[in-house]
């Protein structure tokens, strides 16, 4: 049992059944990987570091959405509004109250969770298309609130946020902020992994798989569906707060319905109901526009550019590619990157005897 998994299922205790790392090897690899990432600020350029930070921040929000979509079987296309709510709340708390940013971030998560619970109430009774419309309403109601509530969000003028500080020490620049994001990412992913091993987590999965059976087994549907909304909003709020103190400016631009769809794309591409898949999906969605940027820069002035007279429209290629890739994933890889990753692992494990 030390380093290899025996073929067949020999798990005889609940602890063995719910373990996160099946072998010591996989646990050590994960720890080594995290330690390796800790050196990223020392070696990577500012550009790559900012991409890693973005992946870290959005992965937390996507994780929240995966609880809702992947584990509970609900849907939300208002996730970006909760993200933004967390961002504004954290900026507001740390600007107006004598609370350092260190505490403002989790507080923003809690406040956003409360707002999520309010919008989760109709979700407890709605399913499918009706729920989509209800969450769409949340998106628009919150965005409208941000553009009008001058006292809270600065109205149409972007609000400013303080840099991250703890006990009088201020984190300045991406190189230091990277560790803040990494810490939050690790804690969030551990928390959710653990949640899914508990009674509450399994209740969510039961609702997803068949809500009627779950109810017959004594699971309180209203409670768990609302809870799932609250949790999703909590992680969106934390993620938004991290984003606010990373950018130092919060604006209600760029967090419309399109951003909510991007969060859904992260979950779908990564794999619904897969925690590690969420991270992969986020990395994919963050890197996609960047790679399109490299391609369009490479194309600039080339024969293809001239033949199609792309000029300034070359940036639109990016938007088109994102749409195409989401469709391609739904068609050819509906289980997401997590599934592909499992297949790659199995292939190497069994190599060369895969058949």
């Amino acid at each position: 049992m030390a380093s290899l998994i025996p073929s067949g299922d020999f798990r005889s205790t609940y602890a063995a059944d719910t373990t996160i790392f099946p072998t010591a090897m996989s646990r050590n690899a994960a720890i080594a990987g995290i330690l390796l990432v800790c050196f990223a600020p020392q070696v990577l350029s500012g550009y790559w570091l900012s991409i890693l930070i973005q992946i870290g921040i959005f992965a937390i929000a996507a994780l929240g959405l995966n609880i809702l979509v992947g584990f509970t079987g609900q849907i939300s296309i208002g996730h970006a509004a909760f993200f933004l709510f967390g961002a504004f709340t954290s900026a507001y708390i740390s600007n107006t109250l004598p609370i350092p940013v260190f505490f403002a971030i989790p507080l923003a998560g809690v406040v956003t969770a409360l707002v999520g619970l309010i919008f989760g109430v109709p979700a407890a009774r709605l399913k499918g298309l009706y729920l989509v419309i209800a969450t769409l309403a949340a998106q628009y109601i919150l965005l409208d609130f941000f553009s009008r509530a001058d006292w809270f969000s600065g109205g149409s003028v972007p609000a400013s946020a303080n840099p991250f500080s703890i006990f009088g020490y201020t984190f300045r620049g991406d190189r230091q902020y990277f560790y803040v994001v990494l810490a939050y990412l690790l804690v969030s992913y551990l928390l959710v992994t653990n949640l899914m091993r508990t009674r509450d987590g399994r209740a969510l999965v039961a609702i997803r798989d068949h809500y009627l059976s779950a109810e017959i087994m004594g699971i309180n549907l209203t409670k768990y569906r609302t809870l799932s909304f609250g949790l999703a909003a909590f992680f969106a709020g934390i993620s938004g707060a991290l984003y606010a103190h990373y950018q130092l400016v919060v604006s209600n631009e760029g967090f419309g319905i399109d951003r909510s769809i991007l969060f859904l794309a992260m979950v779908i591409i990564g794999g619904t109901g897969s925690i590690m898949g969420t991270l992969m999906g986020t990395a994919f969605v963050v890197l996609l526009p960047e790679s399109m940027q490299w391609i369009s820069e490479g194309l600039k002035g080339s024969a293809i550019d001239k033949a199609l007279s792309l000029n300034n429209n070359i940036t639109f290629l990016r938007e088109i590619a994102i749409g195409l890739i989401i469709i391609a994933f739904l068609m050819f890889e509906p289980d997401g990157l997590a599934h592909r990753w499992r297949q790659v692992k199995t292939y190497w494990k069994l190599y060369p005897f895969s058949h």
């Binding site: 350029s45 500012g46 109205g155 149409s156 991406d174 604006s251 631009e253 760029g254 490479g298 300034n312």
Partner: protein
Amino acid sequence: MTMKSLTRTISLALLLGGATTAQAQIAIGHLADYSGGTSDVGTPYGQGVADTFAWVNKNGGVSGKQLNVDTNDYGYQVPRAIALYKKWSGGDKVSAIMGWGTADTEALTGFLAQDKIPDISGSYAAALTDPEGASGKAKPAPYNFFYGPSYSDSMRAMLTWAAEDWKAKGKPGKPKFVHMGANHPYPNAPKAAGEALATELGFEVLPPLVFALTPGDYSAQCLSLKSAGANYAYLGNTAASNISVLKACKTAGVDVQFMGNVWGMDENAAKTAGDAADGVIFPLRTAVAWGGNAAGMKTVMEISKMSDPTGKVYRPVHYIAAVCSALYLKEALDWAAKNGGATGENVAKGFYQKKNWVPSGMDGVCNPSTWTEKDHRATMKVDLYRSKIAGATDGDLNDLMAKGTIKLEKVKTVELPRKPEWFGW
């Protein structure tokens, strides 16, 4: 196969990266909006900036150094502008930024002051004119510059004209003024200043009407204008969105004198709107429009050839304003390079060296401007023009302008006093 294409991409990226750092250069960041809410006017402006720097590089650069301009389409989104700013302020700092929108420029103001990077923005918000925050109405903006009258001053000039116009027409009663635009920092920037002056000049100020930055159906807004009996309406958005209002109001038969923001009207917009754009009043930032009779127009034509070798493309007013803005920066860079190097701090000082100056080769095109350590209002003179449309506006813009189907007719030059109570808002 995939591995091969991957290595190819990487080597290409390395090649591109290597090429840009080969020689001593002056780095400039350029925020352009080619795809966002203001792309209608952002595209000619961005092209003007890019062409001007390409032309400067072709003619020997700045004190022998080539300009390395990093042009990026940020889609009029603040987060993307911030991300680009991080790139430009970390590591190899840029010497200056050619900025764009009001929301992103105001969001960057604090960072610019901290990092000492001048930003020559396409936003003319009055809040950016107060370098020390002495007015008490805006935060200090020591590294913000722009060429042309501020939005608020343009608004004040148009209201001054409107008050005279009302008197000249001899209509009875109080004229009614309304501010129209999106709920966004850019259209909102001159709102308070405009409404205050309107009240002072004896206008009745109606509640503002909101319409989006993107083109759409704004019949409802026109009906509100009609039922409220507005006489003078300020259009705070950019041209494409304003056209929608002009057309809808023409259909609804609304009799209102429209007054556009500097970005609110241009030749392309007049062509698209056709007779609906007839009679709109708007400020022109340059002394002449494309093809105008001025010594400097030759330089503008040369610059235009950088992206249009045929010389046949008609360049709207925003393009010429971009040429002026970029050339002011070029001269400030020149001064900085000769006085201790092109650091952001020196470039900002470069703007303060002359009074009432015009970039060389631009006589008769750019209006003389003055920036001082205490006041970044480059000019208080506002030239008001009226768009005249005589007939159908199909066909080439060059022909339409040559035949006089579309005409920009000078109405009045308003020389505003440099009042301290008008500073910073």
